[in-house]
């Protein structure tokens, strides 16, 4: 059975009780890769390298579906946050914000899977 990248979001949830910078940065990283990997597979994008992140966001933003476009913008935002978490060591991330990033990842998946006409009220 192929690996389901969404299970990385489950790992984020396991880490969210942690109180160190390593925990919160790992939560953001795993949450991003959980949703990114899932959407990359869904969209059938199999290229590798840095441009694959842009390709996934761009493909979503070019979609006819408004929900998928919004998912693309929010994925881009989570990508930027993941880059900060991984590389900007001078920043301090509040550990109380762990839930925020997990919910962001879950919301992007929900938007992707919700047809526009089923979205009555955000």
């Amino acid at each position: 059975m192929p690996f389901d990248p969404r299970t990385l979001i489950d790992v984020s949830k396991e880490l969210k009780g942690g109180t160190t910078q390593a925990h919160v940065r790992s939560v953001i990283n795993r949450a991003y890769y959980g949703v990114f990997g899932y959407l990359r597979n869904e969209l059938g994008i199999y290229s590798e390298g840095i441009s694959v992140h842009k390709e996934v966001c761009d493909t979503l933003m070019r979609s006819i579906s408004v929900n998928k476009k919004i998912a693309g913008k929010r994925l881009e935002s989570l990508f930027a946050k993941r880059k900060e978490a991984d590389y900007k060591h001078s920043l301090t991330f509040p550990t109380t914000s762990n839930d925020h990033y997990i919910r962001e990842a879950e919301e992007i998946i929900r938007l992707y899977n919700t047809p526009d006409d089923e979205e009555k009220d955000y």
């Binding site: 840095i50 992140h53 842009k54 933003m61 408004v66 476009k69 919004i70 913008k73 929010r74 881009e76 935002s77 930027a80 946050k81 880059k83 509040p94 109380t96 914000s97 839930d99 925020h100 919910r103 919301e107 938007l111 955000y122």
Partner: protein, 159 residues
């Protein structure tokens, strides 16, 4: 070929120029030219400083800038998004308490640059989530070009 704008009236009566350069940036003394691909290039340091000054005046300290140059220069190259970021700022202030609204340019490469409006707030996730979805829904309809260059980021629980 380099040209110099000497007045707004000259700018407006030159139909060809008006078509190539939409009604933005008619600042006296600014030297500019178009590249073979049609991109606008500002020709000298003096002109670039004038452009930066104009953008800073327009921003009027309404946004905190992560860097004093990169965000300004992005706006100099993309003046069409200036009015949109103010529209977004107004929506943010109306909707919830945001104690800081900043601009941060995220640049992966020349082909992937996005200006983030970073909102520091203690608002609950449900509220910011609903706000972001509604805002993007509106912007994809009304500002499809601008939305490709900007994004919104919530900094939760920032103190």
């Amino acid at each position: 070929m380099a040209e110099t704008l000497t007045s707004i009236s000259r700018y407006k009566r030159d139909n060809v120029l008006e078509k190539r350069m939409p009604s933005r940036l008619p600042i006296e003394g600014i030297k500019y030219h178009y590249t073979a691909t049609g991109a606008l290039n500002i020709d000298n340091a003096y002109s670039i400083e004038l452009m930066r000054l104009r953008v800073r005046q327009k921003l009027n300290n309404q946004f905190q800038l992560q860097n004093d140059i990169v965000e300004i220069d992005f706006l100099v190259k993309n003046t069409d998004i200036l009015s949109v970021i103010f529209e977004i700022r107004e929506s943010i202030i109306k909707e919830f308490d945001a104690y800081n609204i900043a601009l941060e340019l995220h640049s992966e490469s020349n082909s992937w640059e996005t200006l983030f409006i970073v909102v520091s707030t203690n608002a609950v996730w449900e509220k910011t989530n609903s706000f972001i979805n509604l805002l993007f829904k509106k912007l994809f309809k009304t500002q499809p070009e601008a939305i490709s260059k900007i994004n919104l980021s919530i900094a939760p629980d920032a103190v």
